[in-house]
């Protein structure tokens, strides 16, 4: 756990609201797992000066690069878009607990919304590498925000796209789609990120079907190392509810444990 000054290899706008950054990770000795994140110092200014957490979109161990797909939302991410290839950026990580893939699960279903697609893309890549069949439902406001769809398809993920603009992303429609996919495929595990509404749907389906799963949570963070308690969420622990820190106890949690408010 340390901060690294990494060289930016590219930083480009890929759609109206999303940017894609590739950094040279050859100085990062720690193993990086899908679902883990880095805490980015978006600028060296006094405003903004707090770090922003971004989960890893792609881990390329052959080229020794890490890729991040980020939604330009506020001051920090706007500043990040000003960075150019060749410049350095201070990233702290890898942080948090990543996703788990069970040997026995040969078919998995991913449900991602918005920037959550970036988080699940890294998992999809690893799962395909382990010869698992990966089915992904990608949800977004508009077709242009379904950035990773082609990338996921390129390495063999079976992708289904739903969007608000086409009127296909409502809960009922997604539920029907999942039910159909469960009939057609022998799904063993569920993974989700990016929408509490969709996560609740995945929880209820997991419960109904007796399937285990995992969820990657997003939360505003302070320290990202477990000391400030800014990113608390609530999880079931036996019959009790207890708080957990998204940054160190997560961001990936067992799907059935998380209390989604």
């Amino acid at each position: 756990m340390e901060s690294h000054q990494v060289r930016i290899l590219s930083n480009e706008k890929v759609s109206e609201r999303y940017w894609h950054m590739i950094v040279d990770a050859s100085d990062i000795k720690e193993n990086v797992e899908p679902g883990q994140f880095f805490h980015f110092l978006c600028s060296n200014s006094i405003y903004p000066f707090l770090r922003r957490p971004f989960s890893v979109y792609r881990i390329d161990s052959d080229r020794n690069t890490l890729e991040f797909l980020y939604l330009v939302k506020g001051l920090g991410t706007k500043k990040m878009t000003e960075l150019k290839a060749g410049e350095k950026i201070d990233i702290f990580g890898p942080l948090g607990t990543g996703f788990h893939l069970k040997e026995s699960d040969s078919n998995i279903l991913l449900l991602a919304r918005g920037v959550g697609i970036a988080t699940l893309a890294a998992l999809a890549y690893k799962a395909v590498g382990k010869n698992k069949k990966v089915i992904a439902i990608l949800s977004a406001r508009c077709r242009n925000d379904l950035l990773a769809a082609d990338y996921l398809t390129s390495f063999g993920v079976q992708v289904y796209k739903v969007t608000d603009e086409e009127g296909t992303s409502d809960l009922h429609n997604v539920k029907e789609l999942i039910n159909q996919l469960l009939i057609e495929n022998d799904i063993h595990a569920l993974y989700t990120c990016g929408s509490k509404r969709l996560a609740r749907l995945m929880q209820s389906i997991g419960k109904r079907e007796g399937l285990w799963g995992e969820i990657a949570l997003e939360e505003n963070m302070g320290c990202a190392m477990g000391v400030c308690f800014a990113c608390l969420c609530h999880i079931h622990d036996g019959h009790e509810a207890k708080s957990a820190r998204v940054c160190v106890d997560g961001p990936v949690f067992p799907l059935e444990q998380v209390i989604l408010q």
């Binding site: 756990m1 901060s3 110092l41 006094i46 505003n220 400030c228 308690f229 608390l232």
Partner: protein, 307 residues
């Protein structure tokens, strides 16, 4: 420090520190062991502990403002029992003294907590957090009233021999009155100060940026006000002051010491650079070498006022 010619040791009211740099309560925890050497710190200051377990406030709990951060964490706590059995002993392997920060709902509960904590040999001093703005409505805190501060510190004084650091709130009309009350009640040291009650609104959603509506502002934006408060407090008390609010560099620490602080706490900076305290220590040392200061105590309160 490496350079033996430079003495950085300070005394904060009966507790001698090897150097004047320590974390601010709530911005430090065992996880930072992977990032910094705790033995380098002047002291270890733990997150405020309460008598019973309690949940935190509603999210979002932090937001950024120009050169500042607003937080309303709400002191989530596992209670004093867990704290003394697990948290405190885990630090006994470090030689830096341990300061326990206490938070309570009443004066009697503060005294009870202090009594319990006093029994632990691992606790070297007590910091009374009578100033958290995130526990009651409108940011109310015990430390806003001089009489309540006096009675609270006096009750704690009666049950402990350990050094007492009273953490003052900046959200008062006259901090000097409260500082004097704490000193007269037997506080050994003052922390100036906790966070500033603040609020920020997202103009696009029209919602407060903090779930609890208001929170406490920290970071460099608060530093000039903290320097002023340290200066004002140092004019009326005879006990040491710990400066706390926006220390990002060695020069910030020196500035607070010139204003009258004996030591400093570092908070927000830890979130930006997890090893900030070690860098700040090195920068203080460089400053001392630059001005040939052999003993850091030489600069305490040495702001030059031409009148």
């Amino acid at each position: 420090m490496k350079n033996a010619a430079v003495n950085m040791s300070v005394d904060i009211g009966g507790l001698v520190l090897k150097n004047p740099v320590m974390p601010a309560s709530g911005t430090f925890g065992p996880e930072m062991e992977k990032v910094i050497d705790f033995n380098r710190l002047g002291a270890i200051v733990l997150k405020s502990i309460t008598m019973f377990p309690r949940a935190g406030n509603s999210a979002p709990r932090v937001c950024e403002t120009p050169a500042g951060m607003i937080n309303s964490i709400g002191i989530p706590s596992k209670g004093i029992e867990y704290y003394l059995e697990n948290s405190v002993p885990s630090y006994s392997k470090y030689d830096s003294p341990l300061i326990s920060s206490l938070s309570a709902d009443s004066i009697d509960e503060f005294a009870k907590l202090a009594e319990i904590v006093t029994k632990s040999n691992d606790v070297d001093a007590i910091e009374l957090n009578i100033s958290c703005p995130n526990l009651k409505g409108n940011g109310l805190a015990f430390g806003m009233d001089a009489d309540i501060t006096f009675n609270l510190v006096k009750k704690v004084r009666a049950v402990t021999e350990k050094p007492i650091i009273t953490k003052l709130t900046p959200n008062v009309t006259n901090i000097q009155e409260i500082a004097v009350a704490a000193e007269e009640a037997g506080s050994d040291c003052l922390n100036v100060a906790n966070t500033f009650l603040a609020m920020s609104i997202d103009v696009h959603t029209r919602k407060p940026k903090i779930g609890n509506i208001m929170g406490g502002l920290s970071g460099p934006a608060t530093k000039p006000i903290i320097v002023r408060l340290i200066y004002q407090v140092s004019q009326v008390v005879h006990i040491p002051i710990i400066g706390c609010g926006g220390v990002m560099s060695g020069e910030d620490a020196i500035e607070m010491m010139l204003a009258g602080a004996t030591a400093v706490q570092v908070g927000t900076a830890n979130f930006i650079q997890p090893d900030a305290m070690i860098r700040i220590l090195k920068e203080i040392e460089s400053y001392m070498e630059q001005y040939q200061i052999k003993d850091i105590r030489e600069i305490i309160g040495q702001v030059v006022i031409n009148q």
